[in-house]
Structures are given as structure tokens and as C-alpha cells.
């Protein structure tokens, strides 16, 4: 039977790959490019030179943060779709502090900025989390609706008090040098000159910590238990509401650090385009990674690769860069479809009840109060 399953997994994976190639290949042909050249440009070419390889890691940095933030929340069955807004709040905090710390020692400034960004992200996540655990209001809606509000906060700052006094552009003044994340080439002599910065190291450290906590500690066990079955977790004596609240805040805090990393490592100022949808890409990363930390790492690097490939193919093959989003979204839809088929088939074979065919945390987000009100 194990062989049977392996065979089926192989067939489904093959079907998934064919589907992805057919859909994206068709789009490449419409754009007037040879699909084989396009796949090479999108996935292989960025890995062949040191400079572009470092840029892949650089592009992966923000989505490793947001992917981690999303994965932690989804594992607990908390649908935090507001990572985009929480990231923007972290960016606002970083730009605010970065403007006033000229002349301070970096060893003081950088931790301060990271802490402030984490707090800002967590604060933006707090209201939906409280509404969920206290009143049972669906967090999907509230976290989603706060994303445009966060962007409006950024725009209000950039068109108002933070407008660059010199250029008049809607950009905040450049942050102090002490507030900049140093490029990694400054303290690792082996790697070449690139934009890759401290944020990447922080992201990797965070992923390792998150992996350890989720898979090796009691806290992680409780988080996973709440995600798999809130009822069961409650029977087992786990404080479900408290767990959800904490997970939501941690998720928001990690998203906030993503914003700090972009402002302090790449943009050096707050701009309206500080996040081209990193929060939403984080959802793709988390799902492609199967909500596990090693998976998030690999999916983040893959999409970083794709992002570098998509922007270089604009010039080399005249493919619009938006094709990158199409490939990304197609990957996501096909992979979750394939996983659903596999789990369904496997559960039928085992004659498990059919509702276990979908093991993701899937109960209605806004629950009847009997389930969410403190007992």
C-alpha cells in the first residue's frame, strides 16, 4: 500500500507539473517568448551568477519574514491575512525612529528599531485578534480590511508631515546612517558587493527559532493542537483564546520586522511602494511551504528566484514583469489543488471519515460564541 501511495503521489505531482507548464507556458507564448527560454530565465539564470544569486536571497528576505508570520498564524487556525498592513506599520515605525537617531550608536539604534517595528506590527494585529477571541468576529474580514487602512496611514504621513522637504516627493526623509542595516558584504568578506543586508540573517534566525518552538516545545504543541482542533485542545486543557491571541501578536510582530527590514535595508526611507504585496506573497510562501518552517525557507527562496528572474526577463525576453505574479499564483492554486486530491484519495483508501480529507485548520473563523467565549 505504501508503494501504491507513492505511485499516486507521483502521478498527482506529474499532473500538477503538466498543469503548471501548460498554463504558464501558454502565457509565455502569448507574451511572444519561447517558453523554454522563459523558464530558464525565470528559474535557472538567477542562480548562475554570484551577483544575481545574492539578489535572490535579497528578494527572498521580506517574503521569508511574511511567510513565517503567515505560517505561524495559519498553523494555529488563525487566518491572519493582514500581514500586509502589519508590515506597513513596522515600516512606519522604522522610518519614524530612523529620522531622529542621527549620531546614535548603531548597536543601540538597530535593536530599538526592530523592537519598535515588532511592536507596531503587533499593535496593528491586536484589534482583529481581540475581536476574534472576545466577540467571535471573523478575523479574515477584519485583518483584510485593515490593509487598505494601513496604506492610507502611510499615504497620510507621506503627503503630510513626512513629505520630503527637499524634493517634495511623497517619500519620508532618508533615515540616519546609524539606522541602516549594514550590507552583509561589510562583515562577511567572502561574499561580493550586493544589496543583501542584515535583514536576511535576521529572517533566517527567526525561521530557525520558529521551527524550534513549533516542533520542539510545549508552546508549539499547543499552537498546533489549537489549529488542528480547537475543541480537542480545549478538552486537553489548553487555553485556546490566549493561544490564538499570542499567535496573532507574534505573527503581527514578525510582519512588523519585515517592514523594518525593507526600510532599514533597502529603501532607507518610507515610500508608498515599500511593499509591493509582500504580505500576500507571504501567504503563497506559507502555503507552498506546507505551513512548516523548512518549507517556508525553501518556498521563500524559490519565489525570490522567480522574482529576480521575472525582473531580468523584462529586458532579455520582453516579458512583462507581472508574469511573475501569474506564475506565483498558478503555482499556489495547482499545489493546493494537488494536495487536496492526494489527501482525499489517501483518506478514502484508509476509510477515514471523509471530513478528514482536509486536515488544514478549517473551521469557520468567526465562531459561535459557545466555542470562542472564555469558558
Amino acid at each position: 500500500m505504501a508503494e501504491n501511495r507513492l505511485g499516486r503521489a507521483g502521478i498527482i505531482a506529474l499532473g500538477a507539473i503538466v498543469t503548471i507548464l501548460a498554463v504558464t507556458g501558454g502565457a509565455f507564448v502569448i507574451a511572444g517568448a519561447n517558453p523554454l527560454d522563459a523558464y530558464y530565465a525565470y528559474f535557472v539564470a538567477p542562480l548562475t551568477r554570484e551577483f544575481t544569486l545574492l539578489e535572490v536571497l535579497n528578494k527572498a528576505t521580506p517574503i521569508l519574514f511574511t511567510g513565517t508570520a503567515v505560517a505561524i498564524a495559519f498553523r494555529a487556525g488563525y487566518w491572519n491575512i493582514g500581514v500586509e498592513g502589519q508590515l506597513l506599520m513596522g515600516a512606519v515605525a522604522a522610518a519614524g525612529i530612523g529620522q531622529v537617531v542621527g549620531g546614535w550608536p548603531p548597536l543601540l539604534v538597530l535593536p530599538l528599531m526592530i523592537a519598535a517595528g515588532a511592536l507596531a506590527g503587533a499593535a496593528w494585529a491586536l484589534v482583529p485578534a481581540l475581536l476574534r477571541v472576545r466577540l467571535g468576529i471573523d478575523e479574515v474580514v477584519t485583518t483584510l480590511l485593515l490593509n487598505p487602512v494601513a496604506l492610507l496611514v502611510v499615504q497620510a504621513l507621506l503627503h503630510g508631515p513626512w513629505k520630503d522637504p527637499e524634493t517634495g516627493f511623497p517619500e519620508s526623509p532618508r533615515i540616519a546612517e546609524a539606522a541602516e542595516f549594514p550590507p552583509l558584504s561589510d562583515f562577511i568578506p567572502l561574499i561580493g558587493k550586493s544589496r543583501l543586508h542584515l535583514g536576511f540573517v535576521i529572517a533566517i534566525v527567526l525561521i530557525v527559532i520558529a521551527w524550534y518552538v513549533l516542533s520542539r516545545t510545549g508552546t508549539g504543541l499547543r499552537v498546533r493542537a489549537v489549529g488542528l482542533s480547537p475543541h480537542g485542545a480545549r478538552f486537553a486543557g489548553i487555553k485556546v483564546e490566549r493561544t490564538l491571541l499570542r499567535v496573532a501578536l507574534v505573527s503581527g510582530a514578525i510582519a512588523g520586522v519585515a517592514g523594518v527590514s525593507e526600510v532599514a535595508g533597502i529603501q532607507f526611507r518610507l515610500t508608498e511602494g515599500v511593499s509591493p504585496g509582500f504580505g500576500y506573497t507571504g501567504i503563497v510562501v506559507a502555503m507552498l511551504g506546507g505551513l512548516t518552517m523548512p518549507g517556508v525557507l525553501m518556498a521563500g527562496l524559490l519565489l525570490g528566484d522567480l522574482s529576480v528572474g521575472a525582473s531580468s526577463a523584462v529586458r532579455s525576453l520582453q516579458i512583462p514583469s507581472q508574469m511573475g505574479d501569474v506564475v506565483q499564483g498558478t503555482l499556489l492554486l495547482v499545489v493546493i489543488g494537488a494536495v487536496a486530491i492526494y489527501r482525499w484519495r489517501t483518506s478514502r483508501e484508509d476509510e477515514r471519515p471523509p471530513d478528514e480529507g482536509e486536515p488544514l485548520p478549517d473551521e469557520p473563523a468567526g465562531q459561535p460564541p459557545s466555542e470562542t467565549s472564555p469558558t
Binding site: L131, T142, P148, L152, H159, D325, L333, A340, P369
Partner: protein, 311 residues
């Protein structure tokens, strides 16, 4: 007086995309499927509706194009969540990512020239034109009644008919049954899968029309980020409306009224000091407040978020 007439007229105009979206999302959720693909479906409806209208020179063909795109988007969502039983949250968000990506990709390919492509907007319908002129009540009412045809269609045809179909016809009963208790519906001889496909496709068509209204009637052109979170607002309105069409439409009118008031106050003497962004953020905050106040104990459809398997 003209102030209120202006705001009321703008309210109906700004509510129109939300009304189409609310009707569409109510249908899909009543069938048990949360369709977070709504933001992308509205976006694709806005873009492809515009693209067809631009190339044929006929906005009504554009509307038809949007409807077809909406039907396809709904069928795709159904393939993922009904046939394959994939997670609804992620399927919907993924669909939104794909549809926005495809629209912007096609936009680059079709309209990459420097100038902003535009079409002749759908005409306004002015049924009370004879009352116009002067400051009297009649003139005010005439100004409010001066709306796009699709707005009249939304309020006087789509909303009542969609309500009637959902609540008073066998099809509507089937949709509600598969969303409430698919096992029982199946036993009663209803094809759960087919009905969910139908509901998602009807819903997708309405969502796409809501998006197309913005490009074909309101703006006459397509710009990036044109939906700007309206789809997410609709998700909130459906919960606020407790899956009832008239309550949801009422919510859409309230949202649009606050939105229109904010836009109007921005150009009203005495209010210039308030940043525009605060005015624009206000409707979102009010929706969240409304959910916080009324969102307790909401009667979610019984099979909400649950894939159905025949065992």
C-alpha cells in the same frame, strides 16, 4: 440642499459595484463557499470588460466580456473548492492573486503605449430631466435620479430578482440547502456539486459586473489597483447583512454614503485641514465597528467552509 443631493447621488453611484459584489458573494456563501476570489474577480471584470469595450468600441460587449470572465472565475473557484475540496481561504486568495496578475499582465501587453487608453463612458440615464433647473425639491430629486443605467439595473432588477430567486424558487432553495446541510440536500436528490458550481458561477458573474461598472461607467478607463479593497469590503458587508441580500445592500449604501460624504467634505470649505486619507479610511473603520457591534452570534451557513464529499 444641493449638498445632500450631491451626496445621495454619489452614494447610489459608489454603492453600485458593492451591490453587485454583495449579491454575488451572498450567493456563493449561501451555497457554503467563502469566495475570497471576489477581489480578483472584480479586478478581472474591470480590466477585461474595459479591454473588450476598447477593442470593439461597444461598452455592452465589454459588459458581456466581464460576465464571461466572472463565470470562468467562478468555475475555477468551484473546481478548486467543490471538485477538489481544497481549502477555501487559500483557494480564494490564490484566485485573487492569479486574476490580478493576469489582468495586469494583459494590461501591459495590450496597453503599453504611453497614453492612457480610454473609452466613451456608458451614458447616464436621466429620467427626470424635465424637472431640472432651479433649486426646488424637484430639481434635487432629478439630480439624484440622474444615474448610470447599471445602477438602476442593480437596485431595481438585480437585487429584487436575486432575492426572489434565492428565497422563493427551487434553485434558491437548493442553493441554501447545499450551504446549510449538503448531506440532507444530497439525500433529497439535489446534486450538491452542480448547485455549488451554479452558485459560484452566478456569483462570479455579478462580482465581475461590479468591477466592470467602475471601468465602463464611472471612469471610462482602467488604472492599476482599481478595485482598491472593495472586494474585501463586500466580504464584510455579507457578514454584516447576515447573508440576507437586502441587509447586505443596506450595508453597501451606508458604506457608500460615508465614502461619498468623505470625498465631498474634502472639497468643502472649512474641512480642508482634514487629510483626505482620514476621510478615505473612515468607511473601513466604520465597517469594522459595525461588525464589532453586530457581528456576534451571526448565523453562518451550516456548511460554511466545509467541502462536501460523498462517502
Amino acid at each position: 440642499m444641493t449638498f445632500f443631493a450631491d451626496i445621495l447621488a454619489a452614494t447610489f453611484r459608489n454603492a453600485t459595484p458593492l451591490v453587485y459584489g454583495t449579491v454575488g458573494e451572498t450567493y456563493t456563501e449561501r451555497a457554503g463557499i467563502l469566495n475570497l476570489g471576489i477581489e480578483g474577480t472584480m479586478y478581472a471584470g474591470a480590466f477585461f470588460g474595459f479591454a473588450v469595450a476598447y477593442h470593439t468600441g461597444n461598452p455592452w460587449l465589454g459588459l458581456l466580456g466581464a460576465i464571461i470572465v466572472g463565470l470562468i472565475a467562478g468555475a475555477l473557484m468551484a473546481l478548486l473548492t467543490v471538485t477538489l475540496g481544497a481549502n477555501q481561504h487559500v483557494s480564494g486568495l490564490g484566485l485573487t492573486i492569479v486574476l490580478i496578475g493576469l489582468s495586469e499582465f494583459a494590461n501591459r501587453l495590450m496597453f503599453s503605449g504611453g497614453t492612457l487608453a480610454s473609452i466613451e463612458k456608458m451614458p447616464l440615464w436621466d429620467p427626470l430631466a424635465s424637472l431640472k433647473g432651479g433649486e426646488g425639491l424637484g430639481a434635487q430629486v432629478a439630480a439624484i435620479a440622474n444615474q448610470y443605467g447599471l445602477t438602476y439595473v442593480a437596485f431595481f432588477l438585480v437585487v429584487p430578482i436575486a432575492w426572489w430567486v434565492l428565497m422563493k424558487t427551487p434553485l434558491g432553495l437548493s442553493i441554501r440547502a447545499v450551504g446549510e446541510n449538503p448531506e440532507a440536500a444530497d439525500v433529497a436528490g439535489i446534486n450538491v456539486f452542480r448547485i455549488r458550481y451554479v452558485a459560484l458561477m452566478i456569483g462570479g458573474a455579478f462580482m465581475a459586473v461590479g468591477g466592470a461598472f467602475i471601468t465602463l461607467a464611472m471612469l471610462g478607463t482602467f488604472t492599476l489597483d482599481i478595485i482598491a479593497g472593495r472586494g474585501w469590503v463586500v466580504i464584510a458587508l455579507v457578514i454584516f447583512g447576515r447573508w440576507r441580500i437586502f441587509r447586505g445592500v443596506f450595508g453597501a449604501l451606508v458604506f457608500a454614503a460615508v465614502y461619498s460624504l468623505g470625498l465631498r467634505l474634502h472639497i468643502t470649505p472649512g474641512f480642508e485641514g482634514i487629510p483626505n486619507e482620514i476621510m478615505l479610511a473612515l468607511p473601513y473603520v466604520i465597517v469594522i465597528l459595525a461588525l464589532a457591534l453586530s457581528g456576534r452570534n451571526v448565523p453562518y451557513p451550516g456548511a460554511y467552509l466545509k467541502p462536501y464529499r460523498r462517502s
